[in-house]
Symmetry: C2
Subunit: 425 residues, 2 copies
């Protein structure tokens, strides 16, 4: 059984590798044509998609999956239209492939530039969200890559149908159907093959929860563009505009609780704690946010009449709640804030609220996170908000792409050397 999964995956890998060469050569027009065709097919086949998706949903319900799971799995007329619009938006993005930097002439006479090229074959491993099939495939296609998609097994019927539609679009544009392949087997061993077949897959982009990422990190040999968690901090400096601090920190925590860029820990300078915390924490408590606080913060808040506070435990400082829970610590100064973030953070997104330019600069320079912000909500850490036009994922790693990853993160730069018969002496 395991051997046969290996064979299946190797064949998928080989076909992807062959297709990736044609994709690397494809013109922007061809790639855009494919995306337009896919959008068209999806719109025309909405009824069929809903029918097939309902099979997956029915099965998942019988398997006892919870409401959130069913919600992610379920497609609607609206979500189908949203996929089609997403495809059309990717058409409008500039094609990064083939861009060449200004050549620099060297003493030897050779001229050096760099050309942006696709990575080759991308593997996407994701949970049971059929919309990822379209989103991820579209970004990989536009950036000239072939892609192998392995979605959650509960979405297999939906994903298989969507893959067929993508392949129809590829064919219509004269591109190889193998440029987008959906792994049909639901055997989990397929994932094990994907994350180790370095000869066929250049990078894996996992999309899913922390447990999925942690499992993949433990075994992957193929490089990944990923983040494990987002333990995002906001530090309210002594020199902060406190009204701004209240507005931004409210947004960072409560605008949505589940995203990885939501604030999990609030750090507040002791000199302004008693001025800002009561107003801010009133908002949190009114919205039902549980507050886990250190001793100093408890004192400040209890003096102001707050009740129902929870004592923060050591593990709270390194916990990504993704829920209406916030840990709060009062710190002496900027150094303590930076040290706390260094010790407990996850290098995702951290913000300072301050009017002090020196403090802002130190925070920007010294906090070693993918995104560092001054006077803005951590919720802005997002490919669309950063103007990338799209987002395949977010990386907390420092090599290659860091922070929100758009089309460029799926590309590489190769050196181009233009000579005139030069030899090395």
């Amino acid at each position: 059984m395991s051997t046969s999964i290996k064979q299946i995956m190797q064949e998928i890998g080989q076909r992807a590798r062959v297709a990736s060469r044609a994709m690397a050569r494809a013109s922007s027009e061809q790639k855009n044509q494919a995306l337009i065709q896919i959008a068209k097919v999806i719109r025309e086949s909405a009824t069929e998609i809903l029918q097939v998706n309902s099979l997956d949903v029915e099965q998942a319900k019988q398997n006892g999956q919870d409401a959130a799971f069913i919600d992610r799995l379920t497609m609607t007329s609206k979500s189908i239209e949203s996929m089609a619009l997403g495809l059309e938006q990717i058409v409008s993005l500039t094609d990064p492939i083939g861009q060449v930097s200004v050549p620099k002439k060297q003493a030897s006479g050779i001229e050096i530039s760099q050309m942006r090229v696709p990575l080759g074959v991308i593997g996407i491993i994701y949970e049971s969200r059929p919309n990822v099939t379209i989103d991820a495939a579209a970004l990989c296609l536009k950036s000239g890559n072939a892609v192998i998609l392995r979605g959650g097994s509960e979405a297999i019927h939906s994903n298989t149908l969507l893959a067929k539609m993508i392949q129809t679009g590829l064919s219509a544009a004269g591109l190889p159907r193998d440029a987008v392949q959906v792994v049909q087997t639901v055997d989990r061993a397929a994932v094990g093959e994907m994350i180790t077949m370095t000869e066929y897959i250049d990078v894996i982009v996992p999309r899913g929860g922390k447990s999925l990422i942690a499992r993949l990190m433990a075994e992957a040999r193929v490089p990944m563009i990923k983040h494990l968690d987002g333990i995002c901090h906001t530090y309210i400096d002594a020199d902060a505009d406190l009204a701004m601090a209240v507005k931004v920190c409210d947004n960072a925590k409560t605008q949505r609780y589940a995203p990885c860029n939501a604030m999990e820990t609030l750090l507040v300078n002791q000199r302004v704690a008693s001025q800002v915390l009561p107003t801010l924490c009133k908002i949190y408590q009114d919205k039902g946010v549980e507050l886990r606080v250190d001793t100093a913060t408890r004192k400040t808040l209890e003096t102001a009449g707050f009740r129902g506070l929870v004592d923060a435990q050591e593990e709270d400082w390194s916990t990504e709640y993704l829920a209406p829970i916030l840990s709060i610590k009062t710190v002496d100064n900027l150094d303590e804030a930076i040290n706390h973030i260094e010790r407990y953070g996850s290098k995702h997104t951290d913000a300072i609220i301050t009017k002090n330019q020196d403090h802002a600069n130190r925070f920007l320079r010294e906090v070693d996170s993918a995104s560092v912000m001054v006077n803005a909500s951590t919720r802005f850490a997002d490919g669309f908000e950063y103007g990338l036009g799209a987002e395949i994922g977010i990386s907390n790693d420092k090599l290659h792409a860091r922070g929100p990853v758009g089309l460029e993160g799926l590309t590489s730069l190769k050196y181009i050397v233009m000579g005139h018969g030069e030899i090395r002496t």
Copy 2:
């Protein structure tokens, strides 16, 4: 024993991590001052260095190491001066750290830019070449990183002394001594720890032969900037300037045999094979280069009176000789050349000799190598020749740095978000 090595390495890692934060904050002046001081100490201590190095050399001779090994290990007054000059050259390079791109204002009002920052802690694993201790440490320092150096055990006395001198220079500049640490234990388990301690080391740069790299690749969990081998091709197109082809192909193969950017396989278009191969192969044979040829090439050369040709076997096409041996294949056209490189190459450096702009463009776009060249010797694939000012290594991988890697390859970009109280809606 193995536990104690683990402890030693963890402590080195922790100290490096702490030092890396100070290095990230260090000014260009401080870093340059450290480099200047190290150069000064090295020059002043040349006699001591030679004495200590002779202990290593003596021991290596007793251990029966071959002449090439002894040559790499042996330091001379000249090589010491060359190290000092290397340090001074790195002083003159622009400091990449802290550079910020032009901010782009988004619809929300936030301004997005990227800041160049150090990777953090670099691990260098290398063979018994003491000069690498200085070269690699200097590049890591200049790029604001801390570094853990693990050289070949036969160079341990030399490396330990050089590390002390580096630390003296760091102290003189007010930088932490732990920013450069040499692993003192000669136990090989130390390498096993380095390549798996992802919490303390951000990237490993291995410097050494293929067997070292292959061994590390099999077990590393820390990302590496590396190349396994350089199977470099030159393709002489039907539209080539044949005199140029002879000059460039001679240089690519024979200027030096051992570097990874030396040509290993010559591909020649069948329409010009009989015009160019006799002149070129005469040069090769005069220089003692063994020619391993396919049937068509043999026919061409034997018709021209050549003898002593070897039949190329299948494995020749994927062999990095690093020696006076060249494989030669006659191909029908550009497509066959590109396909051959795709199949047998190592994605290092490949060149085309042609006057045909379309063929040049196709070769540049379609050959998936770190460096692709037109009308130049593959021997140019080098950080200094590309104007990077330095080279920590060459990468054949597509993620992060690709091709010759200079200071920038030891850095990362983080996102900087400047807000004015913006919140996400």
